[in-house]
């Protein structure tokens, strides 16, 4: 009887200990050498929806993936795989059973990031010289440029998306989704979108959509087709 009581007590102690003192978060860092050749093979699955050029489309239902920083693409793949970024239609396609393990993810983002971009990316409605363009530049410079860069070039190391060359209907839809709480974002991004109303977001994104992409990153013409798919 005495022994049993003791066992029970120690069980309670262990339990309360676990509650009071949760184990600290742990991080696992894995390194992979990207292999774009294998990435080309993995990309077959992606191209079934995103098309071989990965250029997205003008209504913004698909983003321009070509030319995006590999780190950004990898982060999106991981967040969609785990459900942190809600995307019901894409999630099953990026699971290990469909797309493969981490090496395949690294390979495919390396491949996509090197594809030449659609030169006919969709710009917002207000061109240079309009008051909306100027207002957008002010907002962009004050609120967005610190992370996304003065030319909308993003930041590869920090996995900050390149906005330059992205279709305006896509960036607009995503920014509004973040503002409405329909898409998660990091704290800095949340803070920025909470300070701007939806029209101000449109103006800022209009401005960045008017910026030029370096010629070397663009495909020669909008009729260019990915020769890897011949």
């Amino acid at each position: 009887m005495k022994g049993r009581f003791f066992l029970l007590l120690s069980g309670l102690l262990l339990l309360s200990g676990a509650w009071a003192d949760a184990p600290a978060k742990m991080k696992i860092v894995l390194e992979f050498q990207p292999d774009p050749l294998n990435g080309r093979k993995v990309f077959d699955v992606c191209a079934r929806c995103h098309m071989p050029e990965a250029w997205g489309n003008e209504d913004g239902t698909y983003p321009q993936l070509a030319g995006q920083h590999a780190t950004v693409l990898l982060r999106q793949l991981m967040e969609i795989r785990t459900g942190q970024r809600a995307n019901a239609l894409m999630r099953p396609f990026v699971q290990e059973r469909t797309l493969g393990g981490y090496q395949n993810l690294v390979d495919v983002v390396a491949y996509i990031s090197r594809l030449p971009m659609d030169p006919a990316y969709i710009r917002g409605p207000w061109s240079e010289g309009t008051p909306e363009y100027d207002k957008g530049r002010q907002i962009y410079t004050a609120h967005c440029a610190a992370c996304h860069g003065p030319e909308g070039e993003g930041n590869a190391q920090g996995a900050v998306p390149r906005l330059q060359g992205q279709h305006y209907p896509y960036t607009r839809r995503q920014a509004i989704a973040i503002k409405r709480g329909q898409r998660r974002a990091d704290l800095a991004m949340q803070a920025v979108v909470s300070q701007l109303d939806e029209h101000e977001l449109e103006l800022a994104l209009n401005y960045v959509s008017q910026l030029e992409v370096p010629k070397t990153d663009l495909a020669p013409t909008p009729n260019w087709r990915n020769p890897d798919f011949k």
Binding site: V45, A47, R48, M51, D59, F93
Partner: protein, 454 residues
């Protein structure tokens, strides 16, 4: 008759056009009410239910009634709520639960489970904040904005009709409605409901050899790739099971309608001994008892068959007076960009009974609904929404154990010269592989997730 729904019995009869014919007939035949269970004038008391308001909570915002809980209606209901949370959305279907027709070909030959295809309308409604009502629609009164159903009358601010398709047996020479019923039950096409699928699966499992006839309809039938996919998956089944079976594939078209290279190669490379493909086979009659299908030139006897006839927009559109009589598939008379019935911006038609020539299939319906939901929400707020193309992402299984598939994605554009829609960018993968097989399951999984759960 005092009625809670606030309209006269005469008006209901006129509007529905349904009881108008049957009620006098019933009255004429009536026996003593107490003996028959029939009420006044020989009309069963249950008919009174038709004239009451349906048992739904009072609308808390503009009410949008969506008729048909297929791929289009389910997506519509969800995205209407997302576009405008103030909409009070009611989804109506005569079925109690959902069985996917996409991916049913792999199911017929045991590649995936029925669990994967079956989903609950209750889950969809619960997860997306709308109401589901199991009811059959009997007619419309567009003037008073009311829908008549066998569960009562529902008023609407907006009405979306996504009733899908019916078979058009007349186009293969079967004109007698009784003959049509018989043919539909003996040799179901498998493109409308779950009983058809269950019957076809038994037919395949019980087949011991001989000629199994399949047909490909002409016109813009539902899911262009599916009849060819079915020929492949069934041939794979017969081949893997070593059955002395031949599939006779009668195609009413001049050639394979979609992914021609892939299917033609599969027919010859994988199933040369199993599939006999006969294009330009315009079926002119079917002898159900004699198990014979005839074209102008030949008669084809079969041991068993799955007869997929041409299709038409659901008959309820014709009964509601909104069918375009000039459309070959008897589709709705709607605005091609904004989907509303011509002259009535409160009633929309989407999904496979749409008027536009977009490929009829699940993904087209889902992507289209996302846009049309924006159009309707925009109409309520006086906001214009730019037209955008639906997308058709289509997977076709070619082989089983393991499943290997081909795929195609296409977008559409409006051709200003021809004044019609045409294919825009297209990407086809016509070499079957296991990646395609896994991707086709991912395709369905994602869409089910979207329509039912998140």
């Amino acid at each position: 008759m005092s009625d809670q729904a606030g309209f006269s019995r005469r008006r209901f009869l006129q509007a529905s056009g349904l009881l108008a014919a049957s009620a006098p007939a019933l009255a004429a035949e009536s026996v003593r009410p107490e003996a028959s269970g029939k009420g006044e004038g020989g009309v069963p008391p249950a008919f009174a239910r038709l004239l009451r308001k349906a048992d739904l909570p009072a609308p808390r915002g503009a009410r949008v009634v969506v008729v048909g809980a297929g791929w289009s209606g389910l997506s519509m209901a969800k995205y209407l709520k997302l576009q405008n949370p103030d909409f009070d959305v009611v989804l109506v279907d005569r079925q109690a639960s959902f069985t996917s027709l996409p991916l049913s070909n792999p199911w017929l030959v045991g590649e995936i489970s029925m669990d994967f295809l079956c989903h609950s309308f209750f889950d969809a409604a619960r997860n997306h904040g709308y109401l589901f009502l199991q009811a059959t629609v009997l007619g419309l009164d567009r003037e008073a904005r009311r829908v008549f159903t066998d569960a009562g009358v529902i008023g609407y601010d907006y009405l979306v009709l996504a009733p899908g398709i019916d078979y058009d047996y007349e186009r293969i020479g079967v004109e007698d409605p009784v003959e049509q019923q018989l043919l539909a039950q003996r040799y179901p096409g498998g493109f409308v409901n779950a009983s058809e699928l269950l019957t076809i699966r038994r037919k395949i499992q019980q087949f011991r050899g001989g000629t199994f006839l399949l047909t490909v309809p002409d016109g813009d039938y539902r899911c262009s790739a599916a009849p060819y996919e079915r020929a492949c998956t069934m041939a794979a089944w017969f081949k893997h099971n070593g059955l002395p079976a031949k599939i006779l594939l009668l195609d009413m078209n001049n050639e394979i309608k979609i992914m021609k290279d892939g299917f033609a190669r599969a027919f010859s490379e994988l199933y040369g001994d199993y599939i006999e493909y006969l294009p330009s086979s315009l079926i002119s009659s079917v002898d159900v008892a004699g198990r014979t299908v005839s074209t102008e030139f030949d008669d084809y006897r079969f041991d068993d068959a799955v007869i997929y006839p041409p299709i038409r927009g659901a008959r309820m559109l014709e009964e509601a007076g909104i069918m375009n009589p000039h459309s070959p598939e008897k589709t709705a008379n709607t605005d091609p960009f904004r989907y509303h019935v011509i002259g009535d911006e409160r009633v929309y038609v989407t999904g496979d009974s749409r008027s536009q020539p977009f490929s009829r299939g699940g993904h087209t319906a889902n992507s289209e609904a996302r846009y049309v939901a924006e159009v309707i929400a925009g109409h309520a707020l006086g906001r214009e929404v730019a037209w955008r193309s639906p997308q058709t992402m289509c997977f076709s299984a070619i082989d089983i154990r393991p499943m290997r598939a081909i795929s195609l994605i296409t977008f559409y554009r409006y051709d200003e010269v021809k004044k019609d829609f045409a294919f825009d960018r297209t990407h086809a993968v016509e070499q079957w592989d296991e990646v395609g097989g896994r991707a086709s399951v991912a395709w369905a999984e994602g869409l089910f997730q979207d329509m039912f759960y998140e």
